[in-house]
């Protein structure tokens, strides 16, 4: 049987010692999970290793840890894969999840961060009006729309790896915002506007997501929390016209209009427009604060005054406008969710490296 090395981050607050690394050798088949490796080390070498786990089948969401620096369920990650991903091809690094305080070894305080944030988004239905005599009838397409968010098992992997939360611990975060869409997208809920207004106006709400794809990468269940945050923004901005104080909707609108007008991005206009325009009282302190960046950029010729003031339109700009008119003129948005629709064929991108077909397929 192959031997794997597990390099586990150890920490016991009662000892008063700093956290440290400890290596354990385990003899297990490569298709066994990292969790089984940890439990084997605990059974044979050191009974004090702390890890939370239950179902061992990627259902309960208890055993999320960082394996080789990335969050995943320990029960859902094969030892041979983990070894192959490690820098030396053998030593599997196992750490507690990030963005949460550590209780002991691999166990983090989910109450202090994850569950608090889930509570923050009022994770239950708030129906309005009289109760129906029988059950609430929900159209099929509405339930399909929220299916992806319902796949969440609350493991906290996305919270662990969230880069916005790393610098702004108050960020509501990917798991809770995905949960928020569960209720925003449910027609039985009567507080869609209030929920969105709350999440858009919060400086640590939907517009605090930096679009880094970490949560999409970390989620073992395909929830794609970032995509749910983008849906919240879409409904908040385009449907509910919530003009938030964080410049979230204004920035989106300024960008979309910028391309409609020019075809390519006129950057010098985007920044002031995101604050309401060059001469808007909101824009002035921001532009003044940017002077340490703007002045050297002008001095070095990175940005010329001519370029800042004038931007060429695309030669076929009317094509862009026509696309905008047609698509934006529809009664409802046409969206494709691959989580629900699935892939019709094998994704082509994967094969791109092997078969060089060029732009012509």
């Amino acid at each position: 049987m192959p031997e794997y090395t597990l390099k586990i981050r150890r920490y016991s607050p009662e000892t008063g010692d700093a956290a440290y690394w400890e290596e354990f050798k385990v003899d297990l088949e490569g298709h066994r999970s990292v969790l089984e490796g940890i439990l084997s080390a605990r059974a044979t070498t050191d009974g004090s290793i702390g890890i939370r786990c239950s179902c061992r089948a990627a259902i309960c969401g208890s055993c999320a840890v960082r394996i080789n620096g990335k969050a995943d369920l320990a029960c859902h990650h094969h030892l041979d894969h983990a070894a192959a991903e490690s820098p030396d091809g053998n030593t599997i690094t196992v750490e507690p999840m990030g963005n949460m305080p550590i209780i002991k070894d691999l166990i983090v305080d989910m109450d202090a961060v994850h569950w608090k944030k889930i509570q923050r988004v009022t994770p239950w239905l708030l129906p309005e009006g009289p109760e129906p005599e029988r059950e609430y009838i929900v159209p099929h397409e509405n339930m399909v729309d929220v299916t992806q968010t319902m796949a969440c098992i609350q493991c906290g992997a996305c919270v662990s790896d969230c880069l916005s939360m790393e610098v702004d611990p108050l960020f509501i975060g990917p798991a809770a915002l995905a949960k928020a869409y569960r209720f925003v997208g449910d027609p039985r809920d009567g507080q869609q506007y209030e929920r969105l207004k709350d999440l858009a106006e919060d400086p640590h709400g939907i517009y605090d997501c930096t679009h880094c794809f970490m949560c999409i990468e970390a989620c073992p269940k395909g929830v794609a929390p970032m995509s749910q945050i983008m849906r919240l923004r879409r409904v908040a901005g385009s449907d509910q016209k919530i003009n938030d104080r964080n410049n979230g909707y204004r920035h989106e609108k300024a960008f979309v209009k910028n391309i409609e007008k020019y075809g390519t991005l006129h950057e010098a206009n985007l920044l002031p427009d995101s604050y309401g325009g060059k001469f808007h009282p909101r824009a002035i302190p921001v532009l003044a604060g940017s002077l340490p960046a703007i002045v050297p950029a002008l001095l070095r010729g990175k940005v010329t005054p001519a370029k800042a003031l004038h931007h060429h339109k695309l030669p076929d700009q009317k094509q862009i406008r026509a696309i905008y008119d047609t698509v934006e003129g529809r009664d409802s948005r046409n969206e494709l969710n691959l989580y629900i629709e699935g892939y019709e064929d094998e994704p082509v991108l994967k094969a791109a490296g092997e078969e060089e077909r060029g732009p012509h397929s």
Binding site: A84, L163, S164, E166, V167, D168, Y207, D208, T210, C212, F213, M214, I216, M230, R233, R234, N247, E252, F255, V256, T264, L265, E267, S274, V286, G289, P292, A293, P296, A297, R300, K302, K307, L314, P315, I320, I323, T326, V327, E328, R333, N334, E335, L336, L338, E341, G342, E344, P347, V348, L349, K350, A352, G353, E356, R357, G358, P359, H360, S361
Partner: protein
Amino acid sequence: MKVAYWPGCVSRGFTPELHGSMAQIAPMLDIELVELDRANCCGAGVIAEHNMELADTLNARTFALAQQTDTDLMMNICSTCQGSQSECQERLDANTPYRDSINETLKAETGLEYERGIVNKNFLWVLVEDIGLDELRSRVVRPLTNLKVGPFYGCYVVRPTDRLGIDDEHPRDTYMQQVIEALGGTVIDYAGAYKCCGFPIITMNQKASLTMAGTHLGDAVDAQADCLVTPCPLCHLNLDLQQPVAEKVVGRELKMPVLHLPQLVGLAFGLEPKALGMNKHVVRPTSVIDWTQSVVGSAA
């Protein structure tokens, strides 16, 4: 090779030195650039956030323009373009009825049509997969000896791994390190290589945005990097253009030069720093370049 070249908006806007340096090194790599000068902005994820179909139709237009050229593949020099376009392509290629509906709009408004399966690669991928590291090495005339370089990828070119075709055979998330070594430089391992520069939230939460940029730059300083190199002009804006502001946010001096990928290649190919537009950077790459002799080396 001949490529349908999409430079993106920012490389012709606030980071003109990126587009310029790519134009300088392309002939030295035998890459013929057929510029897609009628193509539109990729949407940078923002148009998709507003209306997915709009972003998909706009990018289908760009792909269709690339498919009209007589080239080997489509190439971009911007991580954000790569990620945004790959996201749209994933949807377009996955579902025929959806693609047909997009093409219907596209044909009606532009006369163009997108054919499933375009190959669209970042310059970094082209460098390793199509030109090859041996070929790259053979063209180095001024190895980047003693130059300690930290790679900064940008989110859009490394995540999500499945959409971007990153797997055992195509470890695209290691290409920057491979290229730096092939050019004779030393790779600096630091915490920020795969993290977010913070640019997407600069107008919404400037403090969080520049804490990201400042932290990664600071980590690179602590790891004793001479410079960072990035395939993403938007990362460059937050890491270089905004660096003086980021210094204030994180409360420490940074002075970390940030190079665009084609500039690093150009230096190793013997081009003058000025020809590569390095004088346009906000943080002057003095630790990278001895300006008096134009010889690459660490400041010491």
